[in-house]
């Protein structure tokens, strides 16, 4: 463990010992590639924080705010079996358009990227497969980049000349992603993806954890299908049973995600499931434990 990670965990432990307990279990699984990724990443992140006169304490406070939100959403979810938000406009107003909430949310999510095993594993699935797509990609789109970590990785993998576009509905997300990625070949667009013109087509679209944020995920997938060139690739991740302040569409299990993908006209090139807890499939089903699904898709 690096000293920064130890510091982060000890801070979290002071505030929430049972949450720290869960995080510590993850570290038993983290191997060398984990530290190869995390060490330079944290260095970069600390520099970003410092440029705004912030420290790791700010990031940890953000993370704990996010966890507090998730805990109350989880209690409500286990009580009712439903996500608490139902309309996009309500979430847009309360979350995406609210810089205060969105700022702690995105910094919190960024920390989760290396504190949570399933977030780290899904990110690794993405970047280890990405090089396969370099040759066939003339232009790249990311939807809902949030903190901008995936974008950061993609920029380092693809050709200097490949144009990048990033669409996100939240100005706060765009600002953070831009700070994280000072590369000036990226076109940042603040827009609802449903309002983004589909006259432009892309060879590669990356959409991490956005599908569950829309009321009609089938419509979104159908739109993306039109925005892909023939032979193009869509990488997506989306969770089952993951209550959060901005989640609308509940996937009860991974098969529901696959069915939707097929219905929208995609075929699955490769896929992975990342359970949020180390539990048996029976237990995951019984206790509605979140599973993050990730896949590279092709137009059928």
């Amino acid at each position: 463990m690096t000293s920064e990670i130890e510091y982060i965990l000890s801070k979290i432990e002071t505030d929430s010992p049972i949450h720290a307990k869960k995080l510590k279990k993850n570290f038993a699984f983290f191997d060398e590639p984990y530290y190869d990724f995390t060490t330079p990443f944290l260095k970069k992140y600390l520099a970003l924080l410092a440029s705004e006169n912030k420290t790791l304490d700010f990031a940890v406070a953000c993370y704990l705010n996010m966890i507090a939100d998730m805990n109350s959403e989880t209690v409500a979810f286990f009580r009712t079996g439903k996500y608490s938000s139902t309309t996009f406009s309500e979430v847009n107003e309360r979350v995406y358009a609210n810089p205060e909430i969105m700022e702690y949310y995105m910094h919190g999510l960024l920390l989760s990227q290396f504190l949570w095993k399933h977030h780290y594993d899904s990110f690794r699935f993405f970047y280890e497969n990405l090089p396969k797509y370099v040759d066939n990609t003339q232009n790249y789109l990311e939807i809902g980049a949030g903190h901008g970590l995936y974008l950061n990785k993609a920029l380092s993998v693809f050709d200097e000349k490949t144009p990048f576009t990033v669409v996100d509905i939240s100005q706060t997300s765009i600002d953070l992603a831009r700070k994280f990625n000072t590369n000036n070949k990226v076109a940042f667009v603040v827009k609802d993806i449903f309002d983004f013109g589909d006259s432009d087509t892309f060879d590669f679209i990356c959409m991490g954890e956005v599908l569950e944020h829309v009321e009609e995920p089938l419509k979104l997938l159908q739109k993306l299908r039109k925005m892909l060139t023939s032979g193009g690739t869509l990488f997506l991740t989306t969770p089952t049973n993951a209550p959060a302040i901005d989640h609308l569409y509940l996937f009860n299990n991974v098969q529901e995600i696959r069915d939707l993908i097929t219905e929208a006209g995609f075929s699955i090139e490769s896929e992975m499931e990342f359970p949020s807890e180390q539990a048996s499939p029976e237990k995951i089903e019984k206790y509605k434990i979140a599973v993050l699904y990730g896949a590279f898709l092709k137009v059928k």
């Binding site: 929430s16 010992p17 049972i18 949450h19 307990k21 869960k22 279990k25 966890i67 805990n71 109350s72 989880t74 209690v75 286990f78 009580r79 949020s276 807890e277 237990k283 206790y287 434990i289």
Partner: protein, 80 residues
């Protein structure tokens, strides 16, 4: 309290899927390996269902051990 403790113990065994759990009033999350953040919430909701009560978020965050949890449950049952 004895009777309550026995019922809560059963719920812990079921939710945490570990037959060997033996709770006492001083047991805390440190003593039970499977008792972490997510299972804490699962335990709360299972206890709410079993006793037909509803905790506030303050209560949920305030317990340090089983004894405090039992006191909360007893208070709720007395209110009903």
């Amino acid at each position: 309290m004895k009777e309550l403790l026995a019922q809560v113990n059963e719920i812990f065994i079921d939710v945490l899927d570990n037959e060997d759990i033996v709770l006492s009033e001083t047991t805390s999350a440190n003593d039970v390996d499977e008792w972490d953040s997510l299972s804490h919430i699962q335990l709360i909701v299972a206890i709410e269902r079993h006793f037909k009560i509803r905790f506030t978020s303050k209560e949920i965050q305030s317990w340090n051990n089983i004894g405090e949890m039992l006191t909360s449950i007893q208070d709720k049952l007395n209110q009903n």
